[in-house]
Symmetry: D3
Amino acid sequence: MPPLIEYDDATPEVRAVYDDILTTRKTDYINNLWKALAHHPPTLRRTWERVKSIMGEPGTIDPLTRELIYIAVSVTNNCTYCVATHTAAATNKGMTPEMFGELMAIVGLANETNRLANGYRVEVDERYR
Amino acid sequence: MPPLIEYDDATPEVRAVYDDILTTRKTDYINNLWKALAHHPPTLRRTWERVKSIMGEPGTIDPLTRELIYIAVSVTNNCTYCVATHTAAATNKGMTPEMFGELMAIVGLANETNRLANGYRVEVDERYR
Amino acid sequence: MPPLIEYDDATPEVRAVYDDILTTRKTDYINNLWKALAHHPPTLRRTWERVKSIMGEPGTIDPLTRELIYIAVSVTNNCTYCVATHTAAATNKGMTPEMFGELMAIVGLANETNRLANGYRVEVDERYR
Amino acid sequence: MPPLIEYDDATPEVRAVYDDILTTRKTDYINNLWKALAHHPPTLRRTWERVKSIMGEPGTIDPLTRELIYIAVSVTNNCTYCVATHTAAATNKGMTPEMFGELMAIVGLANETNRLANGYRVEVDERYR
Amino acid sequence: MPPLIEYDDATPEVRAVYDDILTTRKTDYINNLWKALAHHPPTLRRTWERVKSIMGEPGTIDPLTRELIYIAVSVTNNCTYCVATHTAAATNKGMTPEMFGELMAIVGLANETNRLANGYRVEVDERYR
Amino acid sequence: MPPLIEYDDATPEVRAVYDDILTTRKTDYINNLWKALAHHPPTLRRTWERVKSIMGEPGTIDPLTRELIYIAVSVTNNCTYCVATHTAAATNKGMTPEMFGELMAIVGLANETNRLANGYRVEVDERYR
């Protein structure tokens, strides 16, 4: 896999994104994902801008719930990296082990019933179309 | 696809589940999924018991958030039936079009970043293991 | 979607595959999938040869079980076409509604526990590596 | 990832499930998955009850075939943990390397043809609806 | 499903995106996807900006190849909408039925070998890490 | 996981495939995937024949583009093995880090928009059916 690009080795374009991450998140740590995406600055910049906006800006879904949704998708897709980092983020925002357990129960249930609906080829009820 | 089993044609075992659904949900309507699962009563009963418990019993995640998580998984798996029915359920519990839009933005973002992490084969940061 | 290529409109190369399907399966009907793949004869031929061999030749897994496995994958991937056709094939080979119900229960369970293992990031036990 | 909960550190509620696993399976070993799910006892209990019932109770699909189906789903979803443990379980129930090879051939074929059907957007034949 | 938002019913914010689509693509037609995303203007705008940039701006991968890649992902995810629209887009950019057939063969093959690698749990060769 | 079968331990049937790989690819190295598939010679042979044909024979899609498509599928399915080996193969055929970055951007975008189309349940436009 490609080497991670550390701050000191980054181009000014990449550093500008790293700086914005550090400032926005009030941290001194850059996650490995960003250091990998730094190999393609446009993707780094676009991805960070969307994460910053979609996960961080004011909205009608609270920040912790956003993380639960993120984890639900990542677990369904089996992305170990995203499960690990967003479980940490959710924990920082107040997720308890009890909440994580309930989240996993819902994710497991939905993954199961999705297949039951597929297998029995159930048509959408008239009223839900 | 197999015909749906209506209440009047159901066995007592199936009717008992239908009755519990009607009572628990305070409705007079049985969704098509249950009428399809009725072809295999043990799966009907087990699935309903888990839905009733995981989606309906008291817990640390509120009922609307549970629906958002359910939708996130169903959209990721492309289960049209589950997206339609749980979007209706979430709307009943207070989801606005604005919330649905934000939910889709998060689901889309997570599905994207999951692949960026896969493609760059990013290792989980020491601190998140 | 591209139009289906009927027998009378097929090239000799495509007809040769159609003929082999009709003979091997002792039927007078060509499924839509083959009529679609006929737009690219090499893919038609290679796919049929593998289906004929993997699903039809003698082996250690009986023909009905092969269909159950095929359905399990197709339901997991939400391929309506493959679920429909292989459910019909399995029924022809002796699958009862009871068996289909049990199959769906297993498929649903595996799809659920796959996610529980992902979410809790469970390491493979030493003894199962 | 969360630490595994060993028998000696488990609550009575968790121990009751562990005991049932040990007795039902006639083993002295608890798989890591259960020790991880023990962080959320309701999910541990519900999951075990379904595994016990769906994989272990009498039915029309034999125990080895159930494992083959389980593996087919787990391979399709790329769940390393479940592939490893259920390959071991299937081997215990009589799966030979030859059978595993045939299983993989079917799983690979179905994953391929599912996409061919998607790509050519093949409509389900009138007779299979 | 939510009604599509036509140009005449759109807010100025949505119209601005529609106008940019019409101008950029030199067309007088807005695809249904955009009319659906218009229910959440920030997602409409962000998605269009990325599509415009990633699919349309100069780069090292030619426009037709970008469409082939897009189709490969959409077929793997079984997204009928995206398969249909991007097959049309690719055809406009020069994709022949022969190319589509070869594309499907590669997509089918990769979906198959991905599972063979999962099932046999093959470790990445030292030289490819 | 099953041990890899090295050339010296292989049966004549397996060696014949290994020899064809070495000759066709002008290399002295056999990838781990083949050494794993060697446990089931028919699958080894059939898979190699298709890889040889689909990825290597003359066609309308150039060899590098074929690898990009292969990577797009493998990243979407999260197959680490296939991502690693085909990234190496693509690099050998001329893929630059810039191209890989653009590829990932397209793959990420398609995975996102696939879900937006699912979530809003967008119907295929009349003109693209």
